[in-house]
């Protein structure tokens, strides 16, 4: 009964602490948002962006001596391009410029007279691209025409070295349909994690480690405010007092963990993977590891401030070395990372996000369980040795 009373009043006191609410609940959500949005280019990839068709003004006119460019016309007629660019024939360069200024076209291509002949003879040939106002449109159309220019360069090179007969080799045949490239994906189900997901995991783990600070504050506040002296003089066993306090802090940590997971999902759309039970289990193990680590540290320091400094340094170092602050070189993560608690959790949760097979997550679960057993044993023996009294 005493344990229950101590736990409920511990919870009451913790939830009345404004600094706790700010640091444990608001700060992680804010950091997930800030890091996820500002470092999206550094970690993972964002969701696919829809590209709208670009209206491209094309000046490709026959002259007295030459016909219009068949190479350009054929290229523009390619079916794969129909969803990307919409070619619009224009009578002159002026019309193209005027359309670009007015925003009627996103991009313009000026084909010089005799372009095809020059290419086939291996002579110098120059297409003119005029960029429009929109960066994305310029990027999309530029990429399309860069591809075309590469193709033209190949033709020119073959023609100048092997002669015009070689041009037949550039006619596509059915045998060439197999692409030499394949676009790979990180996950087994074809998904990959975003920067927001990565930092959501990283911040969750860092703040679960910080729950060790709550343990420390809870233990030392009783000493510093002399309430421990009074509690020790009451008919309460030392173990009841200690367990009650730890249950209180543990409950706060579970609420904190749930809040980070659920709010990051609802507010930022963070997908936490397909194994909620495993996720809960990992989080509980992380809370146990963090609390027991903090108990060990707190038992051997007389001053709360010193113990807090050590716990903060440990938390930041483990988050960094596990690659949680910024992606580290793989060699680093593989050699130093396994010595941190975060590493095993991070790899497991990222794996769950990518739907990897459960057999690949089990070693991490075992490693976490082992860490917890070792730290729990250390906390128990240090409590027996040092005790918790004023």
């Amino acid at each position: 009964m005493n344990t229950w009373t101590i736990m409920t009043y511990e919870l009451r006191r913790l939830f009345r602490s404004r600094s706790l609410l700010l640091n444990q609940f608001l700060l992680p959500l804010l950091l997930i948002f800030l890091l996820g949005t500002s470092l999206s280019g550094v970690v993972g990839n964002q969701s696919n962006q829809t590209i709208h068709s670009v209206r491209v003004g094309v000046v490709n006119l026959p002259t007295k001596n030459t016909s219009e460019s068949a190479l350009v016309a054929d290229f523009l007629a390619t079916p794969e391009l129909q969803d990307i660019i919409i070619p619009i024939s224009l009578p002159s360069r002026e019309a193209a410029e005027s359309g670009l200024r007015a925003g009627k076209y996103g991009y313009a291509v000026i084909v010089p007279p005799g372009f095809d002949q020059k290419v086939q003879n291996g002579e110098q040939a120059q297409l003119e691209f005029i960029l429009g106002k929109d960066h994305t449109n310029n990027l999309v159309a530029g990429t399309v025409f860069d591809n075309f220019v590469d193709h033209i360069n190949d033709i020119q090179a073959a023609a100048s070295i092997l002669g015009p007969e070689s041009l037949a080799a550039f006619t596509p045949s059915n045998e060439d349909t197999l692409s030499p490239l394949k676009l790979g994906e990180l996950g087994e189900d074809g998904g990959s994690y975003s920067a927001t997901q990565f930092y959501a995991v990283s911040m969750l783990l860092m703040f679960l480690l910080y729950c060790g600070l709550t343990v420390n504050i809870s233990l030392f506040n009783e000493k510093e405010e002399h309430t421990l002296f009074r509690l020790n003089s009451m008919p309460v066993k030392g173990s009841q007092l200690f367990i009650g306090k730890m249950l209180g802090v543990g409950t706060v940590s579970i609420v904190q963990c749930s809040a980070i997971i659920l709010l990051s999902h609802w507010l930022y759309g963070v997908y936490w993977g397909n194994r909620p039970v495993l996720l809960i289990l990992f989080c509980l193990l992380m809370i146990i590891a963090s609390m027991t680590l903090s108990i060990v540290v707190s038992m051997f320091f007389k001053s709360g401030a010193s113990a807090r400094s050590v716990i903060t340094v440990l938390t930041v170092c483990m988050t960094f070395l596990s690659g949680g602050m910024a992606p580290l070189p793989e060699s680093w993560v593989n050699t130093v990372g396994p010595f941190t608690i975060n590493h095993w959790m991070m790899q497991a949760i990222l794996g769950m996000m990518l739907h990897v097979d459960v057999s690949k997550i089990m070693p991490n679960l075992l490693a976490m369980a082992l860490i917890c057993v070792v730290l729990f044993g250390a906390a128990l023996s240090s409590y027996r040795k040092v005790g918790y009294h004023a």
Binding site: I6, R12, E225, F229, R230, M234, P235, V236
Partner: protein, 311 residues
């Protein structure tokens, strides 16, 4: 009947003897004062009595129960008012008392009644819903007491409960101690304020360097002081003839002169004052002030240790 008995109790810190073969028994229903300067061993004795510190040797029993063998049962019978304020600032006064009451096993209606009773007793009923952070020093001290008495303990131990508070709050606390005693609690009251102990305690033990150097009622202790009173006279025109004639008086033990103050030591001032005033007039000594120092606990401590209580 003795409620608490300390027999040959010894406590060492880092090899240094803090409590040295202490023997004392506290009778049920009395207010027992433990007087001594800082570092005398009072708080260590209290901590051992409450089961907060293990004793190195000897034994302590409360209500016939050994503290070492059954500390939880002993703690149920004790209400400790610690020297330092031991309150939760984020909880209201009522929540503080309720929390500690629950740990003493009080529940439901009884708990509610006892919390209201403790707050009323300490004059904090109207501030029950306020947090201690908004209280004055005296109010915090009173709440500190409320948290220790709500379970109606048989033995209340107050460790310097009036440190750093205004005279009004001090009087309130002293009156509360007397009232608690009238309601049936035995009280152990530690202080280094001699006046407080003299005012409320039935018996007083004077501690120094881990020993009890004297123990008894205030009257008994005063009688132990050398049977000598001191008349202190501040005067001008103190001349050798005046001092010589005072020294020759058959009832005066000795005379000491410090600048413009004459200290006259004699068995009793009664009946001799007129003679002394006559000698002063005869030698044209002009008296500015005069008072008689009666022996008290301070003098007793001084005579036993050669030091002042507040050194």
């Amino acid at each position: 009947m003795a409620l608490a008995v300390l027999t040959d109790v010894v406590k060492r810190y880092d090899g240094k003897l803090t409590v040295d073969h202490l023997n004392v028994s506290i009778q049920e229903g009395e207010i027992f004062g433990l007087l001594g300067p800082n570092g005398a061993g009072k708080s260590t004795t209290i901590s051992m009595l409450c089961g907060l510190l293990p004793i190195d040797s000897g034994s302590i029993e409360v209500d016939g129960i050994s503290v070492a063998a059954n500390p939880i049962e002993v703690k149920r019978r004790i209400g400790l008012v610690p020297q330092d304020l031991a309150l939760y600032d984020v909880m209201t006064a009522a929540e503080n008392v309720t929390f500690f009451g629950k740990l003493y096993g009080l529940r439901g209606k009884l708990l509610k009644e006892r919390v209201e009773e403790a707050l009323a007793f300490t004059g904090l009923s109207d501030r029950a819903k306020d947090k201690p952070s908004s209280f004055s020093g005296g109010m915090k001290r009173r709440l500190n007491i409320a948290c220790a008495i709500m379970h109606r303990p048989r033995l209340i131990i107050m460790d310097e409960p009036t440190v750093g508070i205004d005279p009004q709050s001090r009087n309130h606390i002293l009156e509360s101690v007397k009232k608690l005693n009238q309601l049936g609690s035995t009280v152990i009251y530690t202080s280094h304020y001699m006046e407080e102990v003299a005012a409320i305690c039935d018996r007083v033990a004077i501690m120094d360097k881990g020993h009890i150097i004297a123990c008894g009622t205030e009257k008994e202790l005063r009688e132990r002081v050398a049977r000598e009173e001191k008349i202190v006279i501040k005067a001008s025109n103190i001349n050798p003839g005046l001092i010589q004639e005072l020294g020759l008086h058959p009832r005066i033990n000795r005379v000491e002169v410090r600048e413009d103050v004459v200290e006259i030591y004699l068995p009793s001032s009664q009946g001799e004052l007129q003679d002394i005033l006559f000698i002063f007039a005869k030698h044209e000594g002009i008296i500015a002030s005069l008072h008689v120092d009666e022996p008290n606990l301070e003098t007793l401590f001084l005579s036993l240790t050669g030091r002042s209580l507040r050194d």
